[in-house]
Symmetry: C4
Amino acid sequence: MAESGSTPQPGRRLSTGRLEAFSDGVFAIAITLLVLEISLPEGSEDDLLAAVLAQWPSYLAYVVSFATIGVTWLEHNAITDYMEYADTVVVRVNLLLLLLVSFLPFPTRLVAESLGDRDAERVAATIYGLNLLLIAVLLFVLWRYVVSEGHLRADAGDEEITVVTQRLTPGFAGYVALLVLGLFLPTLAVIGYLAVALYLLIPFAVFRRRP
Amino acid sequence: MAESGSTPQPGRRLSTGRLEAFSDGVFAIAITLLVLEISLPEGSEDDLLAAVLAQWPSYLAYVVSFATIGVTWLEHNAITDYMEYADTVVVRVNLLLLLLVSFLPFPTRLVAESLGDRDAERVAATIYGLNLLLIAVLLFVLWRYVVSEGHLRADAGDEEITVVTQRLTPGFAGYVALLVLGLFLPTLAVIGYLAVALYLLIPFAVFRRRP
Amino acid sequence: MAESGSTPQPGRRLSTGRLEAFSDGVFAIAITLLVLEISLPEGSEDDLLAAVLAQWPSYLAYVVSFATIGVTWLEHNAITDYMEYADTVVVRVNLLLLLLVSFLPFPTRLVAESLGDRDAERVAATIYGLNLLLIAVLLFVLWRYVVSEGHLRADAGDEEITVVTQRLTPGFAGYVALLVLGLFLPTLAVIGYLAVALYLLIPFAVFRRRP
Amino acid sequence: MAESGSTPQPGRRLSTGRLEAFSDGVFAIAITLLVLEISLPEGSEDDLLAAVLAQWPSYLAYVVSFATIGVTWLEHNAITDYMEYADTVVVRVNLLLLLLVSFLPFPTRLVAESLGDRDAERVAATIYGLNLLLIAVLLFVLWRYVVSEGHLRADAGDEEITVVTQRLTPGFAGYVALLVLGLFLPTLAVIGYLAVALYLLIPFAVFRRRP
């Protein structure tokens, strides 16, 4: 698992196995910890149904963050799939990406708790959007580095590389637009972040039509 | 680990390795986080034994959720065992399944905290049952998709496929019946959910008798 | 990872790969969640050093539980190392073992919070000891089943099997004795549980002397 | 996964596969749990931005601990990469290292909560520094043991071994100096711990220049 083949590689061409295992662990934990941010206020037993329904911002934030971490994991997966081996820069950029991913539960809670109060909503939506934008930027940086340094697998076709690059790009414009929108209509911006994650989840399916 | 063989497969036939690793991570974390939902009320040190025993709904909810996630992991295991490779739809249906699994600690806590108050019990048992039902539905959808798209391993016999299909079906009727029961006798419904999970855990053993 | 070799095995001889991955996940999470049970009381900033030192029962409970889960993981490791393949009973006994392991943070907190109050201490130490005893029993049951059903690897020598069996046995007497002791001297019993874990951690080293 | 090759090795030369999987799990969980220590005080919705900014010690502590666990994971990775097989001592020293790593969220919270109160700051920074120092010591002990017992892979060159040894050494002096500094200027010491982690993260890149 820690070894990439029978020929040992000096000069630290790191195998991707343990990088993937560690990253998968962090993605899986961050995505599962999100549920801990959902909690009912004291005394809500009186009318539990109303209390549960009044919590809708928590569920919205939960689904947005879950979808975002999910799509990030998928794209991370695509990157490491095409990667022949990692190097020391890849490992560090990856750590920074994981820092941003595992930080996401905090802004998620901010969004969940602040909705209802307009000023707090704007602050929370902005912090949340910045976190999402930084994750998209880091994923893009990671991919560009892997491509430019020639760490790709020999069988990765030019067309496939272009497709992955195109997949990683559109998030930026969407996130920047939603960050601005969030200053005026924060709840709508959060729904917009969900739309971005769902949009990023869907079009990967075009791959499927190829033999 | 990320590659299923020596021949690279263009057209995104995704290997199941990392899908399994990520899913196992989420299952393992969700099942282990359940214990965090159990907490003693302040001041319970006065008569700790009584306080611990009075918590029985928490333990019941813990065991039901643990058994349900456990059986879901087992069935997920069976599905991916027969799956030759994943595609982009499998990955997304799987993410939705994981969302429902990692959400389960929240309704578990609702059940644990509401028992004793009849109205709250009914609401909590219904939400809990809906979550369990949706997990069963998603597992079934995942399996049907894998079978209908022909992603099965070549050596998977028709009989085996039928057995897995039959295994995934009975949950529905049970869950729907218990959802209705839960409107009248919520605690009994929760015990019923445990019975379903235990029933699903046991009969897999029939496999064993075959050589 | 999900496949044990090139020859597919019908009749559900389950490969141990995913069983190990899932179990490792639960062990790793349970052992890491223990730290969340340590928390300082409000207002302890006034004299943080005193507050931190007054927390010693929390650290003791943390170390005991960490050592116990650690040694359980090691012994689980030894069992699956000698196991050629799992079957449906192994998977279910293993789930029950994992339930007990992931429940451990709750009695750990009981012990940490109750020390100082004699009655509560006795209750907490007894619950804690029962949990530890059940873990030891389940490990033993798992091993006996694997041996008696002939699921061992062909190269597992009789002597080695005897050594593992002997390793798994001594916990029982110790735990039962400490359970009784805990009714009178609960703190001493908790220290005793640490001694058992450390004792179980150490003698494995005798293996090392063999070539 | 649990076996290092086709030849079974009696005498407990443990394969590194499951050791790595378990360790990766603990590292990944500990690094992801750090975010749970960040929480806003009640009533901070009034001026969320000010409340979020006032929390800066929490973010600092989060980043320091994340970087430290990240670099520890990298160095652990380097050690197991060069390790041909583990033995029973390696497994136990590794458990002790994991205990210290998974304990880190507690001192991280102490630092985050105490900053602002000088006396508490000094206590927290000292406990935090001791934890970091002990992690560095354990990593060093683990590596020295592996080298001195000859558990290295046959192809590990002397030069590479020296480089790893040099990598693991400098932390000590830094941590001891910062522990002393922390008695007078605790916040500066915490920033210093970040500097140490970043310093340890960067120079690994010298490996890269080698072919």
